[in-house]
């Protein structure tokens, strides 16, 4: 149900204030310590940021997609690691349960995810299978009232912190493709579940990924999502469809922050006796960034409204993710260019953002996968 304008405004204003007063002043610290300070995490919990997309009856706030993207526009004005911490609980780490979980599974996990008591994580990608997700090799064999899981998952966001994995594993034969994949809710720690060392990434300091290794890891059969085998790949694709809008919104938020920083710098930095914002070649960069960010914002807002009205937005969500993630890459590049030498040293946030935003074009489906989704859907719809 949509919120009243006044309530939504108050909600967004609170997030805006929190971002400005708590997150942005701590960005450098988050980067240096490669961790979000515990007091900030605790404030994020108290604010309810871990459950904005989780339904109200399970302790969340139950924002619809239009409201969620507006919140993400605000939250993403700070270092993307901050959004990433709450991103999985509101996105890929909880949506599988919301979309396809049984009532008992929802009651067991959603309130704990909404409060931030546990971190949810989504384990699909493997060392040999990323974009080709239908070919994953992690297996789950039924043994009485348990499934025994074996395999390795790679680049799993928030895995070092996770208390619950939404895991995709093959219950069907080796060549069963998408139909042989099932989804499990695996709690951590569980015997047989091991974590690799945290990945050393190009950016996104403060947000952690690592391998998740399953060695004869036994989970009760009741942990099969929705109690049905063979549905895992469909669940994963639905989860990613929705997540794409949220990622696109994050790209918009970051782009707007970068534009603001660039404008502030351009207005203050003087060359040839004038602020560099007076020079037309700098103005062109500012204008291009502003235009593209606005286009992405409009796309995301439109697609989210369509999602809320019940329309299928798989194609549009992929369009948004593709355009917004490529857009924020160009905006970050221009931000460094406008900052000149200052943009290449770590004294200014743009250096960090430039590295952080590179991820947006890669995760939850690369730009090339988005192109394939868009074109395949176009051709399928054309064929009728």
């Amino acid at each position: 149900m949509a919120l009243e304008r006044e309530t939504l405004d108050q909600l967004l204003e609170t997030v805006r204030r929190f971002v400005g007063e708590q997150l942005i002043p701590n960005e450098d610290r988050i980067c240096q310590e490669d961790a979000i300070p515990p007091e900030i995490v605790s404030q994020m919990r108290q604010l309810g940021l871990f459950g904005y997309s989780i339904p109200e009856e399970y302790g969340g706030i139950g924002l619809n997609m239009s409201e969620e993207v507006q919140l993400v526009f605000e939250l993403s004005q700070a270092s993307p690691a901050c959004r990433s911490l709450v991103g999985t609980n509101n996105g890929i780490g909880s949506q599988g349960i919301i979309l396809d979980g049984s009532k008992a599974q929802m009651e067991k996990y959603l309130p704990r995810l909404a409060s931030g008591e546990i971190i949810g994580s989504f384990a699909l990608t493997e060392p040999d299978f990323g974009s080709d997700a239908a070919s994953i090799r992690t297996t789950a064999h039924r043994e009485g009232e348990h499934y025994v899981i074996n395999g390795t998952k790679r680049y799993i966001t928030n895995a070092p912190e996770a208390g619950l994995f939404t895991l995709m594993a093959r219950t069907g034969p080796k060549d069963s493709g998408a139909d042989g994949i099932s989804c499990f809710l695996v709690e951590a720690p569980t015997p047989g579940l091991k974590l690799g060392p945290p990945d050393k990434k190009m950016g996104m300091s403060g947000s952690h990924t690592c391998d998740v290794i399953f060695e004869d890891c036994r989970v009760p059969a009741s942990q099969l999502l929705g109690g049905q085998e063979g549905q895992g790949f469909r669940t994963a694709m639905k989860v990613l469809d929705r997540g794409r809008l949220s990622i696109a919104a994050a790209c918009v938020g970051v782009a707007e922050r970068l534009i603001r920083d660039s404008l502030t710098f351009a207005a203050e930095r003087k060359q040839f006796g004038r602020p560099i914002a007076d020079f037309q070649l700098v103005q062109a960069m500012l204008a291009d960034s502003r235009t593209e960010a606005y286009a992405a914002r409009a796309m995301v807002t439109d697609a989210a409204a369509r999602y809320d009205s019940g329309e299928t937005v798989a194609t549009l969500a992929a369009c948004c993710k593709l355009f917004a993630s490529e857009m924020v890459g160009r905006v970050a590049d221009r931000a460094v260019q406008i900052h000149g030498g200052a943009g290449y040293v770590a004294d200014y946030p743009v250096e960090r953002f430039y590295r952080d935003v590179r991820l947006f074009r890669l995760y939850e489906g690369t730009s090339q996968i988005q192109q394939l989704i868009i074109a395949r859907n176009m051709i399928r719809d054309h064929a009728g």
Binding site: E6, T14, L47, G48, E56
Partner: protein, 250 residues
């Protein structure tokens, strides 16, 4: 114990205010508004008293237009229990008028404590709490940096020039908050949602028999003078010389 917390809607502290072209005041059209920061501290303190089991109910009050209801809503989202909006479209409401209205509310509600911000950041009058205290004849402790309540008494620490002063007051009493009393919490997102279900009573100044006609006339409003650039001096002797002969402060 019931705690009343009057809250004022003011121009957001982060907004750079601009004087109206005719000098009659500051520009308020399309300007972001928020709860006065000192009032926020008052709300926070009331909530902490409730969390300690000292306060049972917190009533947030505001006098102003329908939008002042949003400020009450913010207090409710932080943790106040209900609100009273004294609605008026009067463009200027002076502290004495607010104090008279609050007197009427205090008489009706019979609280054990009224906590107010020490001043509002728009007119910086710092009068409402003191006037309310005089009107109802309750003890007051202004500019509180620490509040302790026990056995019908309030022990209030005040930051004054040169140190701290501690006062003990019998309840019921009026307390106004200083900046360092506490750090107000953010209203949590779930509480913002719940706040819309909490009741806000609407009243009018007439119900309290209060005439809002301003007693003061604003003659002019002007921007502060532009700050002059500073200068660097090479030696202490030069600094002393300039302070003595140019600035005239020594």
């Amino acid at each position: 114990m019931k705690v009343l917390v009057p809250v004022k809607r003011v121009v957001d502290a982060n907004v750079k205010v601009r004087v109206k072209a005719d000098g009659s005041g500051v520009e308020l059209a399309n300007v972001k508004m928020a709860m006065n920061p000192f009032c926020e501290i008052a709300v926070e303190e009331a909530i902490r008293l409730k969390e300690k089991g000292i306060a049972e109910e917190i009533v947030a009050i505001s006098v102003g237009s329908a939008q002042a209801g949003e400020t009450i809503r913010t207090a409710l989202a932080m943790g106040a229990d209900r609100g009273i909006l004294v609605k008026t479209d009067a463009p200027v409401i002076e502290p004495l008028a607010v104090a008279k209205i609050l007197k009427g509310i205090v008489e009706a509600e019979q609280p054990g404590l009224v906590i107010l911000g020490k001043q509002a950041i728009d007119d910086d009058a710092s009068q409402t709490g003191q006037m309310l205290s005089a009107l109802i004849g309750w003890p007051q402790a202004t500019f509180a940096s620490k509040i302790e309540i026990a056995e019908g008494k309030a022990t209030i620490t005040r930051e004054i020039d040169g140190g701290l002063q501690t006062l003990r007051l019998s309840l019921p009493a009026i307390v106004t908050t200083d900046l360092r009393l506490n750090e107000p919490r953010y209203a949590s997102l779930p509480n913002i949602m719940k706040a819309k279900k909490k009741p806000i009573d609407e009243k009018t100044p007439e119900e309290f028999g209060v005439d809002l006609t301003p007693r003061l006339e604003i003659v002019t409003t002007a921007e502060p003078p532009q700050r002059q650039a500073g200068m660097r001096v090479d030696t202490v002797a030069e600094l002393v010389d300039k302070l003595k002969n140019e600035a005239g402060v020594l």
